[in-house]
Symmetry: C2
Subunit: 341 residues, 2 copies
């Protein structure tokens, strides 16, 4: 593994050898109850690895990105770079950084996909985050994490239809992240309690291709002030819980009066999953991102395992044929795992 130095345009011209860079980014959950579009949490349940390899020089101002995929469950992912979250990131970064004037490198982009796609586990966001970091590493750009998150979030357009930062920031930075959108995009990252365990049930079912767009279409345009007050109180409690490393306090704040009530009907077995989780001792239960995965908070690993199984049972009772039960912890941030020259 060689750490490349920043190549000037001139030296890039002279460079003939391949350079490749691989980066890993974890799954994530968004919202955590009251923090719709604001809270992200990296999760070590799954990870995607993105490798970008520099090919030939091409006399064309348009980036050439050749996308390949490996892993389970990739048939729903577009192999067209301009329709793929990681592909969009790489194309956009190539354009913006104008790496080589009117000349571009042909880039091979490979995604080794382990995060289930379309279940609210931040799959597209992780590919986007890993792609942004790998591109940065490949050309040794040393962009700030904030800038990389912005690129990754633009890639999310391919899957969600709108830019959103909660999953990408959780995936890129790891730990718990508060997304700030005004006056400029910014992030507050907090460490997590050592006893925070997440129990997740992922129902294996046909998820609509534009699932996030559907999940957004059911949201209310306006909200009662009384519900806003309660959501602000709950979100504040979640943040205080992370800051004080108090898992029970985090759980106390996980109650959403705005988004979850309007989305729960989209999830088969929502009530059963929730009831089972609480019966088995979950401290809090909510939808993971736009769903349909459900996520519970616990402060004990064994209890988390029981809860994950009970949640999976809930989906089965509701007629879902197959469900994955997962216990995980918050993750570290995305990282470069290989650079070769």
């Amino acid at each position: 593994m060689v750490k490349p130095t920043r190549s000037s345009d001139a030296s890039s011209e002279q460079r003939t050898e391949f350079i490749s860079c691989s980066a890993v980014a974890h799954s994530s959950t968004a919202n955590l109850g009251p923090g719709f579009d604001v809270f992200g949490l990296g999760l070590d349940a799954f990870e995607d690895t993105v490798t970008i390899t520099r090919g030939k020089k091409i006399e064309d101002s348009v980036p050439h990105v050749n996308l390949t995929l490996s892993g389970d469950d990739i048939e729903t992912i577009s192999p067209n770079a301009s329709e793929n979250t990681a592909g969009l990131v790489v194309r956009r970064m190539s354009y913006d950084l104008n790496l080589n004037g009117k000349t571009n490198w042909a880039l091979d982009l490979h995604i080794s996909k382990k995060i289930p796609t379309g279940y609210g586990m931040g799959s597209s966001a992780a590919s986007a985050a890993a792609a942004a970091l790998a591109f940065d590493g490949l050309f040794n750009l040393q962009l700030s994490k904030n800038r990389l998150i912005k690129y990754a979030a633009e890639g999310e357009i391919a899957s969600a239809g709108t830019i959103h930062y909660d999953n990408v920031s959780g995936s890129m930075l790891g730990g718990f992240v508060i997304v700030r959108s005004a006056p400029e995009i910014d992030f507050v990252r907090l460490d997590v309690p050592n006893d925070l365990f997440l129990a997740i049930a992922v129902p294996v079912m046909n998820v609509p291709l534009k699932k996030t767009a559907v999940a957004r279409s059911v949201l209310p345009k306006t909200v009662f002030l009384d519900d806003v007050i309660q959501n602000i109180s709950n979100a504040s409690t979640v943040v205080a819980g992370f800051a004080l490393k108090d898992t029970k306090m985090i759980a106390k704040g996980i109650n959403d009066l705005i988004v979850e009530p309007s989305r729960k009907h989209l999830i088969p077995g929502y009530e059963l999953v929730r009831r089972n989780a609480l019966n088995e001792g979950a401290l809090a239960v909510t939808i993971s991102g736009a769903g349909p995965s459900m996520i519970s908070v616990l402060d004990d690993e064994k209890a988390a395992s029981r809860v994950a199984n009970s949640m999976a049972e809930g989906f089965l009772e509701a007629g879902v044929k197959k469900t994955k039960a997962i216990v995980c912890r918050p993750s570290e941030g995305a990282r470069i795992v290989d650079v070769s020259n």
Copy 2:
């Protein structure tokens, strides 16, 4: 100063000597921008002292509370115990705790008032908090702080028309407080940064008697989801700032898209005060509670003094005849200062 022990009903019957208890509670600010009805912050700018003195036994199930007041600016405060925030607290605690069966003590309640009344400085809340604590001390009830805050909040009905907990919890607990209202009333208290200074301007003007009710009547019933998302992000940033003891982060979060836009027209000179404060280096400016006082956040005492004066100038420019400029720090919680037997 004698610390009394819990008197049983029997021993109370035999007790003939006077017992009095004095408690002090500080001023406070509510909302801090995005945390309407959720955030309270105790402020050492002013304090009220409440002394309750036990008189004769009376054969009547109705408490007899004789209220007296001293201090500046007390002409707007009702001397009728059932219309006064501290009086209501003492009457309610007497009833609820049924201290002496069908017999009651005549109680003298004295409020030494130093907090300006009706300006969004938590004046009524401080009297209520001090009264609850003094009553608890007088009869050595050893009620939990949560219970005392609930009593104090009920007293707030006299001034605000509705129960609200932000000022009383800030005044009772000191520091920064998150009010939780579901599934039950509860409070999360955080310590404050050592470099947090508040610059406040209190415009001396005719404040309507039911000022808080007026300030609540202008609030929107429903809120756009996009504004909710931003307020939740800002409130989360304020909480993270307190938890991380980062004054600049607190200030970054003090921006309210919901309540402040609909209230600012009630405050003469709002724009001038805000502009002056920011020009002098305030990190953030907002309305203190329901106003009309305005409050700025700073991380430097000298700058805070300049900002407070510039804010007072803003009110004067807007035609307010007299304005108090104050620099203060977050306060400690309410405390008993004297118990005599």
